[in-house]
Symmetry: C2
Subunit: 283 residues, 2 copies
């Protein structure tokens, strides 16, 4: 039925998403995981980490705009930003669109991800070359634990809770993230699919709530076709800032021109949760 | 890598979604298409028409709630409803939740779809047995052309624009739908994925606009993991009713208890289109 070379990510041997690919641009093993980049007609260049789709040129604008811009819009004049995970550089590329940002630290445990993406995903990883960006290759949980009241925005751009990603789902890590934020700051954590990984979603949001305080963690959603379940969640966490009430009515015109998914209207809409998602949060 | 029996729907030999299945409950060819129903762990029972996922017990609540409830909420006291396509009965099952509905005509060209779903998807097709529902097996485009100012709500629950679905993407069909609506009525047409089938999406919305009038057709979105591209569109068409301005602030409490996706808040949010979708509409 299906011809040619296909890359398939199967979720628990129950469902699978496949992309037909042409050239393999990169395929090496690091200490942590297998890192693959290939060229595909449907999705453009595709980054696979440990057998899972991470970035595709076709749809990654959705994930990365929705990880970055809600927090950047709500926090007043964000200057110092920390990204944990996200060695592909796409998150950083979104952050450096803001002229007011003074420094971005990208803490990616696996240097091979960074070098492979610099070489083979130059467009979407371009932000890595911005002079305000510092890349450190350390364990994200250990790194963030060193800071107190340091960052305006912290973004947790983790892989799934397997392999090197496990530490980024622990309550002690969330506690470090909270302590790393300055007053008026916000963190956003990717919290998996509420449809296909409902347990991970519920427990992550619940654990974040126990750290930041009741009502201070608000999940929001976007559609990422290349991720299992497609309906994907992020959780906005802040001790002071409410993500909908304090969202601006509009975004800067220059930014509006550059983006493909996010707008002030999309920001508000993303926090309107389908009924079954609200029910998961009540458990 | 992947074990057991998998059913795969490939989109233009470029991407594919697969579900591992157990028992085959039904597999026959009608005059129009192959009709398959199987049992799967991940998605529950699954209906495949002509090789494409149509209904899964896991995620079809999203598609069907979002096809039905926005129009039912905006139109005042809808009494007569026409569904074109949707022989699986899931759309009808959503419609008969409204006590005020007096009659529902389901016009499905393929009687095999209806009988297979009655037998093997009894829960989600239960509405087919409601005494207010009449099933007619005719060509939907020819059927609706017989009516003028007859229906409060018309829902176009079509397959993709291949095989028996082709006629349901033609402007002459949209013209018949417009004439079939009474004053104050509304139609909703499923208009494919703006991410993976952008040409079909753009041309459908544009053709609907040329029939109903500029500004009288408003696309809205939901995430359907089992459909290609996952980000799925519906277009709300009405000569008199604005889908957001005239949407009620809340829905009846009984309905709220029964639904799993749709709410008044989700209604409004679904019409907030990502930037790239707005750009497709300007072409």
């Amino acid at each position: 039925m299906i011809r040619g070379n296909w890359f398939t990510e199967a979720l628990e041997q129950r469902t699978a998403f496949s992309v037909r690919y042409g050239d393999t641009l990169f395929d090496e093993n690091s200490t942590f995981q297998r890192v693959q980049i290939f060229e595909s007609e449907a999705m453009g260049r595709v980054l696979i980490l440990g057998g899972c789709f991470m970035v595709t040129e076709k749809d990654s604008f959705i994930y990365h705009e929705m990880l970055v811009h809600p927090a950047m819009a709500v926090v007043r004049e964000p200057r110092k930003v920390l990204v944990i995970g996200g060695g592909d550089g796409v998150t950083v590329t979104e952050i450096v669109r803001y002229a007011g940002v003074e420094s971005v630290i990208l803490c990616e445990i696996d240097p091979l991800v960074v070098s492979a993406c610099r070489a083979h995903l130059p467009k979407v990883s371009a932000g890595l070359s911005d002079p305000r960006v510092t890349v450190v290759n350390e364990d994200g949980a250990a790194f963030v634990a060193r800071f107190q009241h340091e960052f305006d925005v912290i973004l947790v751009d983790s892989t799934d809770p397997v392999g090197p990603g496990v530490a980024l789902y622990e309550t002690s890590f969330y506690e470090s993230v909270r302590r790393g934020l300055r007053s008026g700051g916000a963190a956003v954590v990717q919290t998996e699919s509420p449809l296909f990984m409902e347990d991970t979603f519920s427990s992550s949001v619940s654990n974040l709530g126990s750290v930041f305080g009741e009502g201070r963690c608000r999940p929001y959603l976007a559609t990422i076709p290349s991720y299992p379940g497609a309906l994907w969640s992020f959780t906005f966490c802040s001790e002071d800032m409410a993500p909908v009430l304090e969202a601006p009515e509009s975004i800067p015109p220059q930014l509006e021109k550059e983006l493909s998914y996010y707008s002030a209207e999309v920001h508000r809409a993303a926090f309107a949760l389908p009924v079954f998602v609200r029910r998961l949060l009540r458990k």
